[in-house]
């Protein structure tokens, strides 16, 4: 097993494609937590998260033949997870979490809920309250999973330009609500955006 832990994801995929179950098990071990975390945030309920995670890896195993050599495994597995999440949401028919480009931002939660969330310091709850579902996905994959905009475009099925636009708009919508979370001085030289966007944290209120 030590030998497997030293292999790259792509090497493990090649071995799994050849029939090595231990290699696939190693991949499951590496990606169980990130996939589970993403699905929990995306789909909302903890009860379904484990089932959706299992469905993701089962589907990934069945579609392993479609993974081409030279591709990267990380965006590929997140593509599978993203589609599983969309199917789950579609099944549940959650209108507020519908994944459409034309859908506008989610209506902000009532003031009391926002205050509660802020008090608890659950930043990502605020993020999900302030941005659209697709913007949330892009933010998560960019900042938490640290995928490139090209890979995010592959996962979401959008163009790279569209991903960058979504990222920019999400940041704009988010920054005014992040003041409570400022715990350290902002870097020097930070100026306001030319289009009159939110005031940078350096000039905002601090805790």
């Amino acid at each position: 097993m030590d030998m497997l832990s030293l292999m790259t994801d792509e090497e493990l995929v090649c071995r799994a494609q050849a029939g090595c179950m231990a290699s696939f098990g190693e991949l499951v071990g590496r990606y169980q937590v990130p996939i589970r975390h993403f699905l929990r945030r995306k789909c909302g309920t903890r009860e379904d998260t484990d089932d959706l995670t299992q469905e993701t890896f089962l589907r990934a195993y069945k579609k392993l033949w479609s993974f081409h050599r030279g591709a990267e495994f990380r965006p590929w597995i997140f593509t599978v997870a993203y589609r599983v999440a969309l199917n789950a949401l579609r099944r549940r028919r959650l209108a507020n979490l519908g994944e459409t480009v034309t859908s506008g931002p989610v209506a902000p939660p009532p003031r009391c809920e926002l205050e509660v969330a802020e008090e608890r310091g659950r930043l990502w709850d605020i993020v999900q309250a302030q941005v659209t579902p697709i913007q949330f996905t892009v933010l998560w994959l960019f900042y938490v999973e640290q995928l490139s905009t090209r890979h995010i475009a592959q996962v979401t099925g959008k163009s790279e330009g569209a991903v960058k636009t979504l990222l920019c708009r999400a940041r704009k919508a988010l920054l005014p609500h992040l003041r409570p979370f400022v715990t350290e001085p902002a870097p020097n030289g930070v100026t306001a955006e030319a289009d009159g966007g939110p005031v940078p944290p350096a000039e905002g209120a601090r805790r």
């Binding site: 499951v28 930043l123 990502w124 993020v127 640290q146 636009t165 979370f181 870097p187």
Partner: protein, 191 residues
């Protein structure tokens, strides 16, 4: 005012660290139960896949094969039967047998000739029956020949009679009396 697609670098780095740290704070722990459950499902899926790939004899294939074998056997038997493989016709004629045998009854006091492997008469079959069997082809051939000759002779035999009958019929159909009457009537009218 120009709109910037990419944000300020430092600002973005601050946002990145904030979001990443918030995510890591709420990250779920690794679940061995879920891990085992996933692997069990994957193994089960792999077993199903292997089972589907194994060739399984279907009833339909067996039926098709049975029909094909029966057809081959039937056609083979039919071909053998038509070819006389079951001894229906014996083309070997005993020595001395010719067309005149039909009119000359033969006595078979001794052993049957022309049948290899037989040195003694067969008591099981009656001698007369056997005689008939042996001479049957010759009789048949003679009869056919005679019949053909007669047919050849009689081919034109009734032709003259037929002509007479046809003439009588024709006379009845054509109103010759009327023609004669008309002819006499015209003759009277003429001055």
């Amino acid at each position: 005012m120009t709109r910037r697609i990419l944000p300020n670098g430092a600002q973005d780095r601050w946002l990145a660290s904030l979001l990443k740290s918030a995510a890591e704070a709420e990250r779920p722990a690794f679940s061995p139960e879920l891990h085992n459950r996933i692997l069990r499902q994957v193994l089960s899926a792999q077993a199903d896949h292997v089972r589907r790939l194994e060739p399984t004899p279907s009833r339909r294939n067996l039926q098709l094969w049975a029909v094909a074998i029966l057809a081959v056997c039937s056609s083979t038997l039919l071909a053998v039967w038509l070819g006389g493989g079951f001894g229906q016709r014996d083309s070997r004629v005993p020595p001395g047998a010719n067309g005149k045998m039909a009119s000359q009854p033969q006595s078979f006091g001794g052993p049957l000739r022309g049948f290899p492997g037989t040195s003694a008469p067969t008591p099981a079959l009656g001698r007369q029956s056997l005689q008939k069997l042996i001479t049957a082809p010759d009789v048949t051939a003679e009869q056919v020949k005679t019949a053909l000759q007669e047919l050849e002779e009689r081919r034109w035999a009734s032709l003259d009679q037929d002509l007479l009958v046809a003439g009588e019929l024709l006379k009845k159909q054509i109103p010759l009396g009327l023609v004669a009457q008309l002819r006499d009537g015209q003759a009277e009218k003429l001055p």
